[in-house]
């Protein structure tokens, strides 16, 4: 595709592409239905006898009235207005959009997993508990930390667990430390979590190489510091060369070191957070371990911790009894308590465990190695002439599993913003990289290709970037008006936030 006309031509191809959006609430007709209620097989009393009037609903919820075929068409139609990982390249930085094997879906759907009640007696759920035990063991080995709780529901929930654990650890020692250090490159969840856990964020600067500024860290690390939260490799895709020194400084003032595992895909089997000196790690099973993202969840965010933090882990924990059977341990007096109902997102555990069984020790290492190889190859392609002048690498020379480019020169020389490039990529059939993050890079583009992409795909993406930049040099208006081939074009997000309409108005 080289110009707008060709793009416009493609519009006619898909009858779904430009339909006016109608919600399910705008379809159907009174009395239409899909559900057939099972037989009323018990004596029917007057509802008023069973439920006093004042507790009863007087007018039904205005749910849709539609037939099954209408439901299927509606939602299949909606599905076709979504881009997805199975359809194309999705190099969304820090999100690890790697292939989701279908074996995992099949395994998780087995009745013994899918229709197992969480309050089933442990004796009747030995398979599930064994699976959780095995997963705990594998995550412990990957993290290099001895204790694991699978309970947190997502990465941010794992972070919250981690900061609460840190608080409990210090409180148990009779210390009240109120500061948590986070680098300015940190994911937004880190500072948000710190506030929710009742502590205060103190930012640590980034040095010229993209790592933690050691002098700034030294200046800020005092006995009021509870914890340093770090991603390593960080959100610039760089492994901090001073990690051992950082760890020493933080531990030197008695604080804990927290590892945001969003970027674990770079180091599985290569380097372990526990060996780097971290006390607490959260995993994103929906990133490194292939739980499908589901269009924004479910996720799962287990944590692994060191011995000193272990007594405070949330309840319940999966344990192995002396007779070899598995159980849930609720009797942990120093525990911070529960973070949610039941035992965590078991369905995600099944998938992550299946992944670990499929890959094994060498496969996990291979996955990380290939992720890093792919990222560096794509980076090399994007440092070619015609691209690098406009989109230079923000920091470093090599990268780990992802890298960050700056769209600053592109904005100055071609009058194209990173947003324009991202939107134009949609017309080329690619999901854009993460944009405008991390915040310290001007017009940032954060690219994470993952290990499950082929060289051909990486080349095609690099070619598309080059093509968009060439096109932009000729006529920047094309990218500024993009996308053209999507179900809708650029949407007015400001208006949406100014006058929020967040539900269908029903007559």
């Amino acid at each position: 595709m080289s110009d707008v006309n060709l793009a416009d031509e493609r519009l006619g191809g898909n009858p779904l592409a430009r339909q006016r959006a109608r919600t399910i609430f705008q379809k159907g007709a009174p009395g239409r239905r899909a559900f057939v209620c099972p037989e009323m097989d018990v004596p029917v009393a007057e509802v008023s006898e069973l439920l006093p009037e004042r507790f009863r609903r007087t007018s039904p919820a205005r749910l849709p009235e539609v037939s099954e075929p209408e439901i299927v068409r509606h939602y299949v139609g909606l599905s076709k207005r979504n881009f997805d990982l199975d359809s194309g390249f999705y190099p969304l930085g820090s999100c690890t959009m790697k292939h989701n094997p279908r074996l995992h879906e099949r395994a998780a759907a087995l009745a013994g997993h899918a229709r197992l009640h969480p309050l089933q007696d442990p004796e009747q759920a030995q398979g599930a508990l064994e699976l959780m035990w095995n997963l705990q063991g594998a995550l412990s080995e990957i993290a290099g930390l001895p204790h694991v709780s699978l309970q947190p529901s997502a990465g941010s929930h794992g972070e919250l667990a981690g900061v609460l654990l840190t608080r409990a650890y210090h409180e148990d020692r009779g210390e009240s430390r109120h500061k948590v250090l986070t680098p300015d490159t940190a994911h937004g969840t880190n500072p948000a979590t710190v506030t929710m856990a009742g502590l205060e964020v103190v930012k640590v600067a980034t040095n010229a190489d993209g790592g933690v500024d050691i002098d700034d860290l030294r200046a800020k690390a005092d006995t009021d510091v509870a914890c340093l939260m770090l991603t390593n490799p960080n959100t610039l895709g760089l492994f901090d060369p001073n990690i051992e020194q950082i760890s020493e400084i933080v531990h030197g003032v008695g604080a804990t070191l927290y590892y945001d595992g969003a970027n674990l895909n770079a180091v599985m089997g290569l380097s372990r957070p526990g060996d780097m000196g971290f006390d607490i790690v959260h995993f994103n099973l929906h990133k490194s371990f292939t739980q499908p993202h589901g269009g924004g969840g479910p996720g799962s965010g287990p944590i692994a911790v060191s011995d000193r933090v272990a007594p405070f882990l949330p309840v319940p924990l999966v344990v192995r009894r002396e007779d070899g059977t598995f159980d849930l341990d609720h009797e942990r007096p120093r525990s911070i308590g529960r973070l949610r109902g039941f035992h965590g997102n078991y369905g995600c555990f099944v998938r992550a465990y299946a992944y670990i069984c499929s890959l094994g020790a060498d496969g996990l290492k291979d996955a990380s190695e290939t992720a890093v190889l792919n990222a560096n190859y794509l980076l090399a392609r994007l440092r070619e002439k015609g691209i690098a002048e406009y989109l230079p690498l923000a920091y470093g020379e090599l990268c780990m599993h992802e890298f960050v480019l700056s769209g600053g020169p592109m904005k100055r020389d071609l009058k194209l913003k990173t947003l324009d490039l991202a939107k134009r990529l949609l017309d080329f059939g690619f999901h854009p990289p993460t944009v405008y993050f991390p915040l310290l890079v001007e017009e940032a583009l954060m690219v994470e290709p993952t290990e499950t992409e082929t060289r051909e795909t990486l080349d095609a993406f690099a070619d598309a970037i080059a093509e968009i930049l060439r096109e932009g040099a000729r006529d920047p208006e094309i990218a500024r008006g993009a996308p053209y081939t999507t179900p809708v074009r650029r949407l007015d997000e400001v208006a949406a936030a100014k006058h929020p309409v967040i539900r269908e108005a029903l007559g």
């Binding site: 239905r33 948000a192 995600c348 020790a361 090399a380």
Partner: protein, 456 residues
């Protein structure tokens, strides 16, 4: 590829970046990888060691329920277009997912009778705790008054997180199976940030929600202090009952949260499911999580985007209304499809079926020797009994007959007064025949245990 990168080997990439001291330098101590079919067999073998609701007549509930999940939900959830995208950061190519969120939000507001809803939170108990944080942000007060009728996991989660929020949780006891209105009134004062109860409560009883809300709003500030803002009234609801129960929005409730599993989600040994979160309009900008909103594109075409993002962690960082990033989009999709499948009348019919069967089961079981109702309050889908026998032993006897009679109450609440308690849940999958079978098996098990206790 290495030549393009400009390195001699893959190892060089790592040697140049990872300090020697923190390289693993050995293989992970994990089993070797397996072919797909072997992994499947392993997972099948593990599944076979679990007794699922397919393999026994199960009356387990207490927060998650064995409802029928229609086939079309499986089909839609397995579609790549819903299963494999990330959070819809690029709305032009995510209209399907965003519209699903918008429809879901519409359905939840309809169900709860409240004006606004988010696109889902993790699950039930953590949604209760999230409501506590909303209250803190809203009024800055320090006390969370929680009815003992809340799910024990909700209270425990609230306590865990309240410690982080710098808030205190005060538990209000039950009387006759429901929140004691006098104790409720006593507990709520001018420093009460939120007053939280469950409808129906953990013991299956229908609470007088209007009365609890009224008391909460009247109590605050009545001591004449400067702080005259009423607490945020929060109800944890069970969405499947909202076809027949008066919706929280009509009962003076400000925020309704709840476990969404009953709506088209499988049990999955406790997750993933979704948490619903709805509120009065005034709380919109305090809500946690993702929210989809309607807008137009440059051509004036209707479209949807993630909106009010200035509340969220990726923009507001330490000032965000929540740290939540990943929601439960796929599970919420199942929820809205399920509600659509039930439809306007189906939700009511299902509610009435559950009500009738629950009533039937409660009368049938409480007529057995050694079995009585734990309370006399109205129930809609679950009820509590007291057995004059050791509950664990009774449950073991029932299991031998292929029946799981329900949840051992004391085992989950830890409350001395719940000794002998059994919580029995009814779904549309449990027919009259199943209930009669339960009566027979439970009656025999209780009789046998009492006999054994006498002879011991």
């Amino acid at each position: 590829m290495l030549a393009a990168i400009g390195v001699g080997s893959l190892q060089e990439i790592f040697d140049r970046q990872i300090p020697k001291g923190v390289r693993l330098g050995r293989e992970l101590d994990l089993p070797a990888g397996l072919p797909e079919q072997d992994v499947f067999e392993h997972l099948r073998a593990l599944a076979a060691q679990n007794t699922s609701t397919e393999e026994e007549v199960s009356f387990l509930g207490a927060g998650m329920y064995d409802h029928y999940v229609p086939a079309l939900i499986d089909m839609l959830m397995e579609r790549s277009e819903f299963l494999t995208p990330y959070t819809p950061y690029q709305p032009e190519i995510s209209q399907g997912g965003l519209q699903v969120m918008f429809e879901y939000q519409t359905a939840i507001t309809e169900l709860t009778g409240l004006e606004v809803a988010n696109a889902s939170t993790y699950e039930g108990p953590s949604a209760v705790a999230a409501a506590g944080y909303l209250a803190k942000l809203d009024n800055g007060k320090h006390k969370l008054v929680a009815s003992a009728g809340l799910h024990p996991h909700s209270i425990e989660t609230l306590r865990t997180l309240a410690h982080g929020y710098g808030m205190e949780v005060v538990e209000v006891p039950l009387r006759d199976g429901v929140t004691d209105p006098d104790e409720w009134a006593r507990a709520i004062d001018s420093d009460t940030s939120a007053a939280i109860f469950a409808q129906p409560n953990f013991y299956g009883a229908v609470e007088d929600a209007q009365e609890l809300s009224r008391i909460a709003k009247e109590q605050a500030g009545s001591d004449g202090s400067a702080s005259d803002r009423a607490p945020v009234v929060v109800a944890q609801v069970d969405p499947i009952t909202l076809g027949i129960l008066r919706p929280p929005g009509e009962c003076g409730v400000d925020v309704a949260v709840g476990e969404g599993q009953a709506l088209g989600n499988r049990l999955d040994f406790g997750g993933p499911s979704f948490g619903l979160f709805a509120a009065r309009e005034g709380y919109l900008r305090r809500m946690p999580g993702r929210i989809a909103g309607e807008t137009v594109d440059v051509d004036g075409r209707r479209g949807f985007v993630l909106t009010l993002q200035t509340r969220e962690q990726h923009i507001r960082r330490e000032k965000a209304t929540s740290n939540i990033c990943t929601a439960q989009a796929l599970n919420a999709l199942a929820g809205v499809v399920y509600l659509t499948w039930l439809g306007r009348t189906g939700l009511v019919e299902l509610g009435e079926l559950l009500l009738a069967r629950t009533h039937y089961a409660r009368e049938r079981l409480s007529a057995l020797d050694g079995v009585e109702k734990l309370h006399e309050q109205p129930v809609v889908r679950e009820f509590a009994l007291r057995l004059d026998a050791d509950v664990a032993a009774v449950r073991r006897r029932c299991a031998l007959a292929g029946v799981n009679p329900g949840v051992d109450l004391q085992a989950i609440t830890g409350r001395p007064e719940d000794r002998g308690g059994l919580l029995v849940a009814i779904t549309e999958r449990r027919s009259r025949k199943d209930i009669d079978r339960l009566a027979e098996v439970l009656g025999a098990a209780v009789a046998a245990e009492r006999e054994a206790a006498l002879t011991a």
